[in-house]
């Protein structure tokens, strides 16, 4: 994997000059590589990682498993495309599970809102044979960042000498 990708996947807050210094490359190299990665659609965006546990009026998140009857030719793709076009759907995965085929994470203001979305929108979709909804109580880790009890490590180190 490209060192640049590895680096910015953890922290995308550096100038090209800083990236160049860290990776021992020229700024032009870095600019070209970034352009290339965006052109190829490998870099999709850049957003803050937020620990929603700590936000008092944060949305509710649910993980929804869907049992889907595959179609000839397109398999599960058609259903997945419909599911992912809803704005409140955060992610959609095709899973190799014996019970369910698609897994979606959904955000909503309240549990009721999500319940309504599942019963009215998802379970009624053509090809959807069943759903199972799990509400998220605590997120321990997200986007590779530990949320739960992650005190500032620097604070834990004490100076000895």
């Amino acid at each position: 994997m490209s060192k640049l990708l590895e680096l910015i996947s953890k922290n995308n807050d550096f100038t090209t000059a800083q990236l160049a210094a860290m990776l021992g490359k020229s700024e032009d190299d870095i600019r070209n590589e970034l352009y290339d990665l965006e052109e190829k659609g490998i870099i999709k965006g850049n957003k803050a990682v937020i620990d929603w546990n700590k936000v008092p009026d944060a949305d509710v998140t649910a993980i929804i498993e869907l049992k889907v009857a595959p179609k000839p030719e397109t398999g599960f793709d058609d259903t997945a495309k419909i599911v992912m076009s809803y704005d409140n759907v955060e992610s959609v995965y095709l899973a190799a599970s014996s019970r369910y085929d698609l897994i979606a994470t959904v955000r909503g203001k309240t549990i009721q809102e999500i319940a309504e979305f599942v019963s009215k929108r998802l379970s009624t979709l053509e090809g959807v044979m069943g759903t199972a909804t799990s509400f998220v109580l605590t997120q321990y880790k997200g986007d590779g960042v530990v949320f739960y009890e992650n005190d500032d490590e620097d604070e834990q180190r004490s100076l000895i000498l």
Partner: protein, 389 residues
């Protein structure tokens, strides 16, 4: 009323408290301080190593270990130093496991130095050599290394300080606080002087795994003819991020190690059992952890050096350890003043160079054992500080 000052040992009372400590105490009293002052890895010990520590406790291994350290650990240390630094030591009689590298330094100095012996100490360097020498009734002889030599010790600088009383040379490389590294050719020059004046060398190689660039650290014991006059001190703290486990070791000629062992036996008895069991795992399966952490340090090092140079804080490129030692002369301030103003105006804590010897004046130690995010924020504050002036 007891007059404690008249009871306490004079030499102890005269020891200066560490200059690093003093500065950190200021930082501790303030809120929102971002520190680049700590001298230990920000990584936690790799999980597989911690697991062995847990397993050792679970099995109830809660007794003393042998004075020298577990034989299995000594065998692994022997294997490790041969594998990574090309020097072979007999685990039966040339290795002693200690409570951190610091204890090994103390043992070595006490086993060798007696009244009037001179101990040659290159500075800037870690703060313990001088006080330990004084406590052993030795005479510290400071050698000031120079920025124009990349803070390396030169043969000429060494030879100028030699007297008939010279006995022990401390070689603190890769260096804390400067990040200086001695390459083979530099060590060979030093070896000639060591041979000529019949010196013994304490080579503090605790940062030996943390060198950057293609060339790896060269142990002084690997230089021809030097193994018999060298005590190598190292440990697990920096290479494996195991500072809190307190485990180090000394490698050297049997006659020296056996005297050090006696001191260790009476003063310490044995190194922690849990830590030793975990350390065996680190040596067996930890090489990739070392590389991973070193690559990360390297990236931070490049970032800091590049940004400092851009800001006008010139620093020679540090090639080892996890510190940069920029010159702060551009500010027109003394090191202490610079660091004090920096902490009060921008709340960034770094350590004034003179904490590591008088010749550190005009410099400051900046540690990069912090996350990139943390470093980036600190750099922005330092730049604001420089611009405001």
């Amino acid at each position: 009323m007891i007059d404690y000052a008249s009871i306490l040992n004079d030499k102890v009372q005269k020891l200066k408290p560490s200059g690093i400590r003093k500065f950190f105490d200021i930082a501790n009293e303030m809120d929102h301080v971002i520190s680049l002052s700590i001298g230990e890895p920000d990584f936690t010990t790799p999980w597989h190593v911690r697991q062995e520590g847990i397993e050792s406790l679970r099995k109830g291994h809660t007794w003393y270990s042998p004075n020298r350290g577990f034989l299995e650990l000594r065998k692994q240390i022997s294997n490790y130093y041969a594998r990574r630094f090309n020097v072979e030591y007999n685990p039966e009689e040339e290795i002693v496991v200690t409570v951190g590298g610091s204890e090994a330094i103390d043992l070595c100095i006490r086993a060798l130095v007696q009244q009037g012996d001179e101990v040659l100490i290159p500075q800037p360097s870690f703060v313990c050599y001088e006080p330990m020498t004084i406590m052993a009734d030795g005479m510290p002889v400071i050698i000031n290394t120079k920025p124009e030599n990349g803070f390396r010790l030169t043969a000429q600088e060494l030879e100028e300080k030699i007297t008939p009383k010279s006995k022990l040379l401390i070689l603190p490389f890769p260096n804390n606080p400067t990040g200086a590294v001695m390459r083979r050719e530099h060590l060979e020059e030093i070896a000639k002087v060591v041979e000529k004046y019949n010196l013994i060398v304490l080579s503090d190689e605790i940062y030996g795994e943390l060198t950057y660039g293609k060339e790896r650290h060269i142990s002084f014991a690997d230089i021809k003819g030097m193994k018999e006059r060298t005590v190598v001190v190292s440990g697990f703290s920096k290479a494996y991020a195991m500072t809190g486990w307190r485990l180090g070791y000394a490698l050297g000629p049997e006659p020296v190690i056996s005297q050090m062992l006696k001191l260790h036996q009476y003063a310490i008895m044995s190194a922690p059992t849990t830590a030793q069991n975990a350390a065996v795992e680190a040596l067996k399966h930890g090489d990739s952890d070392i590389e991973r952490m070193r690559d990360e340090y390297d990236m931070r090092r490049r970032l800091i050096v590049d940004e400092f140079c851009r800001m006008g804080l010139t620093c020679f490129e540090p090639e080892g350890a996890f510190y940069v030692f920029p010159s702060i002369k551009i500010s027109g301030m003394k090191s202490e003043e610079f660091c004090e103003k920096l902490i009060f105006s921008q709340r960034v804590a770094i350590v004034p160079g003179p904490a590591f010897g008088d010749c550190g004046e005009g410099f400051a130690r900046v540690s990069y054992s912090y996350s990139l995010k943390h470093i980036k924020e600190a750099l922005e504050r330092i730049e604001r500080f420089l611009n405001e002036r």
